[in-house]
Each structure stands twice: as C-alpha cells, then as structure tokens.
C-alpha cells in the first residue's frame, strides 16, 4: 500500500528539523531517503515531489541557496544584516 503524501511530508519535515544546522538537504536527499525507507513499490518519486510541494506551499519549509538549492526551515536569513 502506498504511503500517504501527508505522512511523507511529515517525515521529510522531521528530517529537515533533525539535520538543521548540521547538513543542508536537497530535494533529492529527501526523496532518496523516503524511497530507501519504504521501497520503490510504496513510494514513488512523484509522491515525494508532491510531499515536498506540500511542505513548501504550507510554509513549513523554504528553499535556500548556498551554492546550490536546499530545503530548510524558514528561519531568519543568516546572510541578512541584523
């Protein structure tokens, strides 16, 4: 049975929280982690794309650019002046 998109989004969000400040995660890192956890028969790349869309559109996560594009928490931009 396929994993619901909401569940994938939540698990991805927890990954982003866990790695925040330690490692920058790309969309493909989240996708590969979910597929590795549940297998290709239960999670497709399209499912992961939808889950990431949900995370971003809800504002729980945002994209950042640090030489490449990453998914992170919507904290104040560290490059911005105080």
């Amino acid at each position: 049975m396929a994993i619901p998109i909401e569940q994938l989004a939540e698990e991805m969000y927890q990954m982003v929280v866990e790695y925040h400040g330690k490692k920058n995660l790309k969309a493909s890192d989240l996708t590969k982690a979910m597929i590795a956890k549940y297998g290709e028969d239960q999670v497709s790349k399209e499912d992961c794309k939808q889950a990431i869309r949900q995370l971003i559109d809800s504002g729980r996560c945002v994209y950042s650019y640090l030489g490449g594009s990453y998914i992170t928490l919507p904290k104040k931009d560290s490059a911005a002046p105080e």
């Binding site: 790309k26 969309a27 493909s28 996708t31 790349k45 794309k49 990431i52 869309r53 971003i56 559109d57 504002g59 945002v62 994209y63 950042s64 650019y65 640090l66 030489g67 490449g68 594009s69 992170t72 919507p74 904290k75 104040k76 931009d77 560290s78 490059a79 911005a80 002046p81």
Partner: protein
C-alpha cells in the same frame, strides 16, 4: 541624504568614451532612487578597496518558489543602508524577447514602485533582470508581475528559464518554430523551473539554425539547433548576380567551407551535400542564392556549460535530426531519461556535461538507451564509442 551628491572619481572613469556606460545609467537613476545612490557609493568603495562588498545567497524568495530571486546583501550596511538588501529578481522573458512598449512600461513601473528601478535587459540566460530590492518588497513585486502576465524565471538548482532566438518571427533561416517550442517547454516544466530538485542548474536554449544566435552550443545543457536534412536550396541566377556584383566565390565561399564540399568552375557552383556539415557559412555569404533545405527539424545536443566550477564544455550531438512535428515529444522523452540518470548519479553542483565526462559518453548513452551513431563523432578517431571485442580482432588477424 537625498540631496547629497556622492563623489565617485573612480566610477567616473567608466563614463568616458563613446560607448554606453552603466555608471551613467545608475547616476541617472540615482536622481530619484536612494537605492541607486547608495549603489554608486558602495561600488566606488569596492573600486577604492579592490574588494566586493556583496554577500550572496541565503533564504529569500516568494512563497512556493525556490527560484527567481537571488539574495544579495551589503556587508557595509551601516555606510549604505539603502542597499543593505539588494536582491535580484529574474523575470521570465517572452520567447524571442518580443515586447510591446506598453509591456516594457508596465515592467519598469512595477520595478520603480518596488525596487531600485535598475534593470538588466537581459541576463545571460535570457531573463529580464530586476536589480535591487528589499526582502519585504519581493511578494508585492511578484504579485504585480503575475497580475501583468509575467512570472519569475529560474535560479539555483533548477531548470533555468528556457530561451529562444527570434526564429520564424523575423528570420527566414529558422528550421523550426523556436518561439513555440520555447513556450511549450516553459509551460510543460513549471515545477522544474520553480521548484529546484536537480543536482545543479539545467539550461535549455532553442536556436532556429546553426548560426545559433542564442549560443546554445556553448551555454545550454540541452541545445536544440535547427537544421535541414536534404540539400541546400540553390538559385543559380542569384549566384551569378553575386559574382557580377564582385563576390569572389572561390576565395570567400568555396575555400572557407570547412569540409571543402563546394566547387566553383567560374560559372557553376556545385555542392556535394553529403559532405556538408551545415556550418551556414555559404548561406550567410550568399543569402539570396543559397537557403537551408526544405526537410527541416532540429539536432539535439547535450552538455554545454560556461566555465564556473570546471572549464567550458561544448554540447555533444545526441540525436542528429528530429522532424519539427516530433520535436516537442522527443525533447520530453529525452529529458525524462537524462534527468532520471542525472538525478541518480549526478553529484552536488555537477552539470550534466560534467557527469558525462566523468562516466564517459558510452556509459551515458547506454544508461539513457540511445545507440551511438556516426553523427556523434566530433573528431575522427577521437570518440571511443565503437568497441571491438577481442575475438573479432583475432578473427580478423
């Protein structure tokens, strides 16, 4: 502050000479824009100290999008508070860069309301570039742009804004409708354009003929270059007219042909079309006498990039000829295979051309399910696509 005149002796040097000057334009904008005024001050400081004062990147964007905004901050905000934030917006340009004057006025009005008023028409990928605004102005700018029918372009690790030459709108040599293909690709890949999910950037450029006015073969990860399959169309009367008007066909056309596929006996120009490599030189010299053939389409090439992390790479031929009516479907099929492989094996910040160099073209072709063909050989005896098995070599001996 508003009436203060900033002293810029070093920048003033860049106004000298007959050519256009960005300094002159910024000074003009500075008469009404405090951001432009502080920009002049910070730039002068950079010239004095020989060091850049911008910090770049971070978290800035509009809701739902991961591309289109490039965060930029001053590292001397106390000196130049009006450029403490100076973000760039990339706005998706119309295919072929055709605008009405009303559309241009609308864009400039939006930018004067929300940003510095400074633009760059256009950036190297082709976008309309809005230079300099504050984080709080990003959403209002985006809102007004979308109401006016514009959208943001790409930035970061996403598909960058596709671009096209003017194509059949103004050019008789266009071998396919570049404008339509560019528009179709842009609409098909909205997610890939706005939601970065690739290892690094991916650029697509549509050139209508091998003159390649959008420099796709040097810049685009996927270059779609118009080409013809049959013979060059030749008008002998027009050839004679060129000769009568003083053109030295032997020196200026025949001897400049890279494959020497032409002969001129003083009366008749003969082209061996089998040896023609579609370089366009003869057609460019004698546009009234020679034209691209009638069986038109495009060649698909992959892997170009400008030098950033590694050196420059030119595109390599993947599919030598696709008829125009099959072009969009073929591009979609090819992209799905290329992106699948790049997603799986591409390293962070590795362009697809660099990936091909790393794994080898033979392995890459095998992975995306394409057979090698002679047109992929860029230099004879240079491309190791053909492998002889040991038993074949022994049986030949």
């Amino acid at each position: 502050m508003a009436d203060e005149k900033i002293s810029t002796p070093l920048l003033d040097e860049l106004e000298k000479g007959p050519w256009p000057s960005f300094v002159r334009e910024i000074k003009s904008a500075a008469q009404t824009s405090p951001m432009a005024r502080d920009l002049l001050g910070q730039l002068e400081l950079s010239y004095e100290e020989k060091v850049g004062h911008w910090k770049h990147g971070g978290i800035v964007g509009v809701r739902g999008y991961g591309g289109g905004v490039i965060g930029r901050y001053s590292d001397v905000p106390e000196k130049f508070p009006n450029v403490a934030h100076f973000h760039t917006l990339r706005v998706n340009q119309p295919a072929g860069w055709f605008y009405t004057s009303q559309a241009l006025r609308t864009l400039c009005d939006i930018w004067e309301r929300h940003g510095s008023g400074l633009t760059n028409m256009h950036g190297s990928t082709g976008d309309i570039i809005f230079l300099g605004t504050k984080t709080d102005e990003l959403e209002p700018t985006f809102s007004e742009l979308t109401q006016a029918g514009f959208d943001l372009g790409g930035s970061g690790s996403d598909m960058r804004t596709p671009s096209a030459c003017v194509g059949p709108a103004r050019c008789e040599w266009a071998c396919y409708d570049t404008l339509k293909l560019c528009y179709d690709i842009t609409m098909e890949y909205q997610d890939e354009l706005h939601r970065p999910a690739f290892p690094y950037k991916f650029k697509i450029k549509c050139a209508g003929c091998p003159n390649d006015c959008v420099a796709s073969i040097a810049r685009a990860d996927l270059s779609i270059i118009g080409i013809w399959k049959d013979d060059i169309q030749q008008d002998d009367e027009a050839v004679a007219e060129y000769v009568a008007n003083g053109l030295d066909i032997q020196a200026d056309v025949v001897e400049r042909c890279p494959t020497r596929c032409m002969q001129w006996d003083g009366k008749k120009l003969t082209i061996n079309n089998r040896d023609c490599v579609r370089c366009m030189h003869c057609i460019n010299v004698m546009p009234k006498a020679l034209r691209p053939g009638k069986e038109r389409g495009a060649v698909l090439l992959l892997g170009a990039k400008a030098p950033i992390i590694q050196g420059a790479i030119l595109s390599s031929v993947l599919i030598p000829f696709v008829p125009e009516e099959e072009l969009f479907d073929t591009v979609k099929e090819l992209l799905s295979r290329v992106w699948e492989f790049w997603d799986e094996y591409g390293m962070n910040r590795e362009r697809v051309g660099e990936l091909i160099q790393r794994v080898g073209m033979a392995n890459f072709l095998d992975a995306i399910g394409l057979d090698p063909v002679p047109e992929m050989v860029s230099h004879p005896r240079d491309n190791p696509y053909v492998f002889y098995k040991v038993d074949e070599e022994q049986s030949e001996q």
